[in-house]
């Protein structure tokens, strides 16, 4: 279990206990956190689960696969700390993780 804080573009914070093994995307979607659409359900096919990972957590969330990198390269409002949240698996190590959500996923 890890506490993950999702911060909407308008500043609203959602602190969610996410089970280890789920992805950061699933933690948001299963708890109805607005701002992560995840149209493809985690197949890394749509880039609608885009988040910005807080600087302190970038290393712990692992590296991007070529597929993820390539999808993000063409998403809107991408920053160096952009990730697709369906590709970040939650573990106890990520307890306290903070991610910010973009204005829109489409």
């Amino acid at each position: 279990m890890a506490k993950v804080t999702y911060i909407e573009n308008n500043g609203t914070e959602h602190v969610i206990d996410v089970k280890a093994g789920l992805t950061v995307m699933e933690g948001a979607v299963k708890n109805n956190v607005p701002g992560i659409d995840a149209d493809c359900g985690g197949a890394c096919a749509c880039a609608t689960c885009h988040v910005y990972v807080d600087a302190a957590w970038e290393a712990k969330t692992g590296t991007k696969s070529a597929m993820e990198e390539s999808m993000l390269d063409f998403a809107e409002n991408v920053e160096p700390n952009s990730r697709l949240s369906c590709q970040i698996k939650v573990s106890d190590e990520l307890d306290g993780l903070v991610v910010r959500l973009p204005e829109s996923q489409h």
Binding site: N32, C40, G41, A43, A45, M67, S70
Partner: protein, 409 residues
Amino acid sequence: MGSVSTHVVVLGAGHAGGTLVALLRQYGFDGPITMVGDEPVVPYQRPPLSKAWLKGEADADSLALKPLEFYAENQIDFRPNVSAVTLKRADKIVELSDGASLTYDILVIATGMRPNKLPLPGAELSGVLSLRSAADAEELKGHLLPGHHVAIIGGGYIGLEVAASARTLGAEATVFEREGRILSRSACEVLSTFFTDYHRARGVTFELGAKIDSLVGEGGKVTGVKMADGRIIPADAVLVGVGGKPNDEIAADAGLDTARGVVVDLEARTSDPAIFAIGDCSHRPLPHYDRMFGPESVPSALEQAKQVACAITGRPAPTPEVPWNWSDQYDLKLQIAGLPFDTDQILVRGDPASGKFAIFHLKGDQVQSVEAVNAPPEYMMGRQLIGNRKHVNLDRLADPSVSMKEVAA
């Protein structure tokens, strides 16, 4: 924002209905919501049923859109194992299969599709399966074992995804396709050829232009596929993936406009202003193509759920999305944007033999559709080009050494 007196009733608890009720609460709708579904479980994702589920990489919990407690916590009256029987529009009443009836202010029909049955002798034998629900997938999974032989009737995406899963699990797979090539209804010949070769190289057998006489069995259980030429191809199970039919009867019987699905507008509203229809049961406008269509896809269902949630809560209508879809087979990710309507040529970017390429369907120098295999830049940029109607230089598009960003610049 929806007064407490507005009762929203959602018929169908699939990807569309389940997404809609969650969005309504997300958007602040605080009126009563009732959702009825004919399956025993909460709304879940269907795409993994032909892939992750069969391979044991997904279960009911992981596929559930929301956990069961979400519905009670959000005052959503979710009723499983129930379907709608009759719609009485004049009284705004829906009668249900369990004898109950519901009075609605707003009704959303999200009843999905059902798989077509095989109109052949032997189709009723045990071991002849379709794939729509988690229960179907669980039954199919039991047959995908090393040494078992699964016959797949229909060379569409479901059939091909199951063939890929079967081979990955060590089962034998034969795909029977009535047309001369697989994916004949949904993809161009270049893509058909590529997928045929890719599957063959991994041990799948194809019967193209297949004329099937019947399914044969012993003791009520299917044992093979009998061809018109007399051959019998043995099978421990037969998966039928020959398309589906929208569950639009309840709407048609109530006098709503239907045309292979319930006809809706860009708000997903039917010919009755108090009734919406979303997902696979609907027949919807495609503004990028100036025509009506039933996309039969999850992204379309999600877009329509958003349209309805916005209409009910008074939010501005969302910007129309370029239709898209995807398919995972082996290590291939196929991403499709747009639909190949009104095209005059196709352009292949990259070499199919490399397993990484994209097929652009063009109308003059504008992109109508792209089919991208392991090629996310082509898919992502292609989707934008379809949306913004930009004129592109075809020589540059055909040259993989020119990046997609440069092509679209």
